[in-house]
Every structure is written in C-alpha cells, then in structure tokens.
Amino acid sequence: MYILEVTRGKKMLLTGSILIFGFMALAVFAPFIAPYDPDDVKVEKRLLPPGEHHLMGTDGFGRDIFSRVVFGTRYSLFLALVVVSINLLLGLMVGSIAGYFGGLIDELIMRIVDILLAFPNIILALCIVGVLGPSIQNLILALVALGWVGYTRVSRGLVLSIKEQGFIGAAKALGGSNMYIIMRHIIPNAFPPLLVLATLHVSHTILSIAALSFLGLGVQAPTPEWGAMLSEGKQFIFTHPHVMIFPGVAITLSVLSFNLLGEGLRDVLDPRAREVLNV
C-alpha cells in the first residue's frame, strides 16, 4: 500500500514539474515562441476567430491572443513567485525567532499572528489595492500584508521540533551563537516542508493576482496579464467567446500544475513534517 502511495505522489510530482517547466520555458523564451508582438494593435484584424494565422484568434484590438497568453506567463509566474518568496522569507524569519527563543517574544509574535490569521485576506487585499490605487507594487504589498503569517505559524511549529534534536544541543555545546544556529541549522532543516507550503501557495497567489487584475485592481489593462486580458475581453464574451477562453485555460493550467507539484511533494515528504503542515 505504501509503495502505491509513493508512486501516486510521484506521478503528480512528475506531471506538475513537467507543466511548470513548460510554463517557465514559455516565460523565458516568450519572444521566440510568440509569433506576433503582444502589444501590436491591428484594428483591421480585430476579433478574428482562432485559425491558421492566429492560433487563438485576436482580441478587441486585433492583438494576437496566443502571443499575449505566452507573454502573460511572465507576469503571472514572476509576480506569484516574488510574492511567495517575500512571504516565505519573512514568515520563516519571524517564525524561527518565535520558535527558537520562546517565552515572551514567542507569545507576542504568535498573538499577532493569531489575530492576523483571523482576517479574511482577499477582503483586506482588495481594500489595500482599492485605497492605495491599482499598481503592481501595491498588488505585491496587498498580497504580502497577510501572506506571511501562515508561514510564520508553520515554521514556528517546525522549529519547535527541530530545536529539541541532538545536533542543536551539540552546536550549542560547541559554542555556536544563537544567530549561527538559526541560520545554519534551524532554517535549513525547516526549509523543505515550507517549500511544499510555498508551492501550494504559488497557486493561490496566481489565482489572487488574476482575480484582482480581472476586477481592474491589479495589473492594468494593456499589459498582457491573464486576469487583465479577461477583464478586457469581458465585453466580447457573448459575441466572441474565444477572447475569454484561452487566458482562463492558461490560469487554470498554471494553478493546477503548482497544485500537482505541491501535492506530490507533500506525499513524498516525511510524515512528521506532513503533520505540521496539515495544521
């Protein structure tokens, strides 16, 4: 039974990795893959259905949708990875400090985390972007504002179990400073399970970015970001549905690939860490 469990995990891991690799390749080699300039407006070619010259048709401004979808990977993947990395590093640092030192610092940090975890994060993100004005910086800020707390809680749990292990005691006995122990021993050991969390979080973040951009509160319209493309194409949904279909498929596939990878990683992770992640 256990063997089955592992192979199943690996199948998801493999599918997810291949898909992500594909998206990464699209992002990196976008100028070579896209047949047209994604911002090239050609009024005479507007709203063409998918066909020989335009694989996914053209949008309301006559721009090639396939090229825009390809360039869109850059925005969605890059933004999501930036947001998740900031959250991960921030959460890991704060969580390690809380878990390692314990006592009053721990109590204080975890109280704040508990309070922040009680907030509905999309609502707050909407507010931040809505009040500060829509821009890429504010989008990142809004998604970081509450994003780090999840990592803090999980890394604290991991650190609590790591610091009881023998090698930490050994490092202390050898005279390692607190900072040294956190950086060299605690964080490297807490990292792998957090990576699983981060992978799953990338998919959430792609969805949030797309949703905010769709509402016109994230990446702004002429930019070939998938959510923004859907926002622009909304008016043509009943007359020219092809404008709406492909960017949505791209979002779903990219989110799915990170979900597959995260699930796959979770399956092959050691059970002790899995337990912490499930909290």
Partner: protein
C-alpha cells in the same frame, strides 16, 4: 472550557480593535489629503483651499491622528459607521439592505457543497487508492485550480448563451440563483471533499472501528454511523474557515453575475473610492468572520470532549 472561552473572547475583542484601527488608517494611507479626495468625489471638481479647510474643520480632520482614531472608535461603539459618499445613506443600512442577498447565495452554495462533497469524500475514504479515489483527487485539484470569475463566465456562456436554460444576470427567482451558486460551490466542494476524505481515513483506522468490524456490524453502518460521527468534528472547523472563502468568492461571483449583495457593493465602492463604505464594510466583515470563528471554536469543544485546550502546543 471557561478559560478557553475567555481567552477567545479577549482575542476577538483585540481583533476587532485592530480591525477598526486598520480600517481607520486606510483613509490616511490613501495618497493625497482625504478631505480633498472626498470633496472631489462629491463635486467632481477640484476643491479650493478654503473648501478643504472648512471640510477638515467640520469633520475634525485637522485633529491629531490618535484623537481622530479614538473619536472613530467612540462613534463605532454607538453603531455609527458614517455615510456613503455615493448614496448618502448610512453605511450600516447599506450593509443590512444587501446582506440578505449575499447570505442567500452563501447558504445555497454551502448547502450544495455539503450535499455533494460529503458523500463523495466518505466514499473515497472507504476505498483508498481505488480508481474512484484517484479520479476524485484529480477532480478536486482541478476544482480548486479554476478561477471563480472565469468559471462563472464560462457557465454563463454554456448555460445561458448556448443552451438558453438559465438567465445570466439578475436576482429574484431560483433560476437566477443556480449559476452563481454553482460557481461559488465548486471550490468549496473540492476542498470539503478532500478534507472529509482525510478525516474519515484517520477515523477508520481507529480501534473502535476495528471493534465494530469484529462485532460483525455491516460496513454501511460502521462507515455512515459510527465513523462519520467522529470524522465530522474537524469538518465543522473547516466550515468556519470556508466562510472566508465564501466571502472572498462572493465578492468576485457577485461582481460577475451582478448579484446585488455586499460583495458587489463593496467592489463598486472601491471603484468609486467611497471611503466610509470601504472602512465600514471591512469592519463588519471582520466582525462576522471573528464571530463565526468564535462560534466554531465553542462548537468544537462542545462536540469533541477529547479536545484539551491548554493554549498552543
């Protein structure tokens, strides 16, 4: 139990205090002078220096930040959340007038998720690693991967435009409810399914289930009566956290389907920079969220006597 309750209540009060502080400072974090922004909103023209001064004096905007903050808190305790800049109605009334529509949508979506997600989750757990289990796992992963707004539009395209079965906009009849309900339910159903499966698998490995099997009870009775009872306890907590999903989803789904609930009004207020509404709605939504989580915590202890609450472990 008592200690837990007090601890939870205290932290709920704290959350609300911080929420009101945050929602208050939102206005100050906006670029530009809030008085200027509001005046421009109201008249559509650039206000003069005198007008700004007058407005600031009338609304006590030139007092120190902390004083204003306390004032806002004082008004809050009297249930005054200010007046919408767009409609001129009190924010609280705007909220209560629209809450019914959102509540209707949320309850319908939640009910649909439970009806579909629960049996499938249980069934998948009784046959772990079967073909059915694998399919369900992939389907639920796909379910949480589809963006809600896009799913809503695609359903509209399919059932309203192509098949003509259901109306795509509006509110009123049951037929109007179907598409937004399904859109909102897909993500929740997917995560509920997986959660029920995990929880059920854990319970099915416990000793009392083995005893029940040894006693010769039928599988159906063991699974659906004995095991489900215990497996459902953690599911209750998930329903609490799903409320956040539901609210966030409602914002998007309501906007897509023009559903006249709080979500749509909230997004419209953000577009119009209707600050009193944004502030007030964040606060009310946070309050509802905190309250539901508190209730879930209490319910959890009530349902599961094994739960020991000694702070965090």
């Amino acid at each position: 139990m008592k200690r837990l309750l007090i601890q939870r209540l205290v932290s709920a009060v704290f959350v609300m205090l911080i929420a009101s502080f945050l929602s208050f400072s939102l206005l100050f974090s906006a670029p530009g002078n809030p008085a200027e922004t509001i005046l421009r909103q109201q008249s559509g023209l650039d206000p003069t220096y005198d007008e700004i001064e007058l407005f600031m004096k009338r609304h006590d905007l030139n007092r120190p930040f902390l004083v204003q903050c306390l004032q806002w808190l004082y008004l809050l305790t009297h249930g005054k959340l200010g007046v919408s800049l767009r409609t001129g109605e009190p924010v609280l009334e705007e909220f209560t007038a629209r809450f019914g529509a959102t509540f209707q949508l949320a309850v319908a979506a939640m009910a649909l998720s439970v009806i579909i997600g629960l049996p499938i989750g249980v069934f998948a757990a009784t046959k772990p690693n079967s073909l059915f289990d694998h399919i369900i796992r992939v389907v639920s992963l796909a379910g949480v991967s589809i963006p809600e707004f896009w799913l809503g539009l695609m359903l509209m395209l399919c059932f309203s435009l192509a098949l003509g079965w259901l109306p795509c906009f509006g509110h009123g009849t049951v037929r109007h409810l179907v598409l937004p309900m399904i859109t909102l339910a897909v993500g929740i159903t997917a995560s509920l399914m997986r959660f029920v499966r995990t929880s059920m698998l854990e319970v099915l490995n416990l000793d009392y289930i083995k005893t029940a099997k040894a006693k010769g009870l039928r599988e159906v009775v063991i699974v659906w009566k004995h095991a489900l009872k215990n497996a459902l306890i953690p599911v209750v907590t998930i329903l609490g956290t799903q409320l956040g999903h539901l609210l966030a989803g409602a914002v998007i789904v309501e906007t897509v389907f023009s559903w006249p609930g709080i979500g749509k009004f909230f997004v419209d207020s953000i577009y119009a920079r209707d600050y009193p509404v944004i502030q007030g709605f964040v606060l009310i939504i946070a309050a509802i969220y905190v309250l539901v989580n508190l209730l879930v915590d209490i319910l959890y202890v009530y349902l599961d006597p094994r739960v020991r609450y000694e702070g965090r472990s």
